[in-house]
Symmetry: C2
Subunit: 336 residues, 2 copies
């Protein structure tokens, strides 16, 4: 099977779709045939993969015939409608939307954290977690294994590329307007992001949280398989194009020293420790953009909670936060 | 005495100094005579106050003769050397640097929080807290009065104007370079701030914290007079020009509901509650810049800690975070 797979990428013309193609190429994923899929609006465009042009086809049941792997990144509505169809035709579906993440019959996988949960997938669908959750759980995993997570307080600093290419263009237009002293168009981003901060995710009126924040709570519990883990999140959009950052405060059931945390994180899969503050060395979004690792720095004993740890976690939201993790899930299931 | 005071502003040509002059003017502080003071480098420049030009004088013992109020904002070194001299000549010194903040003989005052502590000032000096501390303690005060603070986890989103005019110019130059696709000069800000995040405050090698973060710990305890309050801080510089933002997670000894917290915060001095997320309404730096209040929004019951509160606090770092608070201290002592 690993000799060559038929792979469909749904949402191939979007930012995450394009990153999926790059990741498949860079990791030499055994693609025998590529089927780039999109809505009617983008069908007919071409994408380049492994040096060849491929015409994007409009989504329809027949495009999934004989497909081994279908990577979905075209929004929740498309996934809800089409992922079951692709799965019914025998494809492994890895879905980057939030459509199935809380479905008890759909595993939610970060390969460094819970690869074993991918085995049981009654619907043939595996969900890729939210970008801000993925990098957090990768960084929390070694601490959880050592001392069991009790509570996590997290404040995010999220890049605009998570909202897609149109949002990035709107942000750049705002920057250009400010640079030339012109009027800033605030409509496309529900506000001004350049030189400002936004909290523009869908609100949950009952709790006062943004849905983006509640995802970090429920997804973290599902991935670790521990509904007792407490998560206190704040999600903030910052004027950064790519790579999300997170200020994370961790409380575990057993105390951990900073030295031990640094040792555990240094040895953990998928993590690169970048931590020498006295030399001005800590993870930065511009360094993480385009890279695969989850970068962890500022590892320190919590001055406000003896035995706890604070750290700063930065990763490319389009790669580990989306495309890379999706392809790694496919590798875990199909290539191992 | 309130009929007209002789007021010296040390560091009158800096960003905070300029803001002090604006605040004195806007609040109609009874200035009979203004003495703008600076280093030799800036002496001879002029500043405008109440419509008149004033020549900046070089700092020297005699400039403080007959001065009733000396507002210092020219760095810790200048304060350490000159604040005691100004005080010895009878001036009330309000110092915006960190030089005296931890001195047990110097009160550290936020008028909405601990005005009574200003009365006992054996050195004739009152310290103005760090910008990130001021807005936080104003927002915490009503919750502390109601239920006593136990622990605070705070992640900051700090504007570059806190670093002064040269830093703002360097940031704007970085923005311009990116807008025209040129090379970004990273030297002046210890890194690239445009489209990026920095943690460039002085590190404390022993704890792994930045000094900016440790200030939030010690100053919060001193202002509330409660060394048991635990503070877990992360300080981050964001590509915003003016107004600091803070994601604050609060644990009190008695539980508080979001409704009660909103009620307490709405009635508190110096605070404006801006909190209707379902309508996209929450505090934003661009709205807070140039304004006096500490804006509080996103007030919600902590999904990770029953009885706790999370909130989002935004305020102009040059005004309430520096100049306004300093002038309010002077008002508390000299005009009430």
């Amino acid at each position: 099977m690993a000799q060559g797979l038929k792979v469909a990428v749904v949402g191939a013309t979007g930012m995450v779709g394009a990153e999926m193609l790059r990741v498949l190429e860079q990791r030499a994923f055994p693609v025998a045939e590529l089927v780039p899929v999109a809505s009617a609006r983008s069908a007919g465009k071409t994408v380049t993969f492994n040096g060849a042009e491929h015409t994007v086809v409009e989504i329809a049941p027949e495009v999934f015939e004989g497909v081994d792997l279908a990577l979905f990144s075209a929004g929740g509505g498309t996934s809800r409608e089409w992922a079951p169809i692709a799965a019914s035709k025998g494809a492994l579906v890895v879905d980057n939307s939030s459509a199935f993440r809380s479905d008890p019959e759909v595993p939610l996988i970060v390969p460094e954290v819970n690869p074993e949960a991918a085995a049981d997938r009654p619907k043939g669908i595996i969900a890729n977690p939210n970008c801000s959750t993925i990098q957090m759980v990768v960084a929390l995993k070694p601490l959880h294994d050592e001392a069991r997570l009790k509570r996590v307080v997290v404040a995010t600093y999220q890049a605009i590329s998570g909202s897609g290419a149109t949002a990035v263009a709107a942000f750049e237009a705002q920057e250009q307007a400010i640079a030339r002293g012109g009027e800033v168009d605030k409509d496309k981003l529900s506000g001004q992001l350049s030189r400002n901060l936004l909290m523009h995710w869908k609100p949950d009126p009952e709790t006062g949280y943004q849905e983006e924040e509640l995802k970090m709570v429920s997804e973290t519990r599902k991935i670790f398989g521990d509904p007792a883990i407490a998560v206190s999140p704040t999600a903030v959009r910052v004027p950064v194009v790519t790579a999300h950052s997170e200020a994370i405060t961790v409380e575990t059931h057993a105390p951990i020293t900073a030295e031990r945390a640094r040792e555990l994180l240094s040895q953990a899969e998928g993590i690169e420790v970048v931590d020498d503050l006295s030399q001005g060395i800590y993870p930065q979004p511009i360094d993480a953009a385009g890279q695969d690792p989850v970068y962890v720095g500022r590892i320190r004993e919590d001055v406000g909670n003896p035995g706890g740890i604070q750290m700063w976690v930065v990763s490319d939201n389009l790669r580990k936060g989306a495309a890379l993790n999706a392809v790694q899930i496919a590798e875990t299931v199909l290539l191992k």
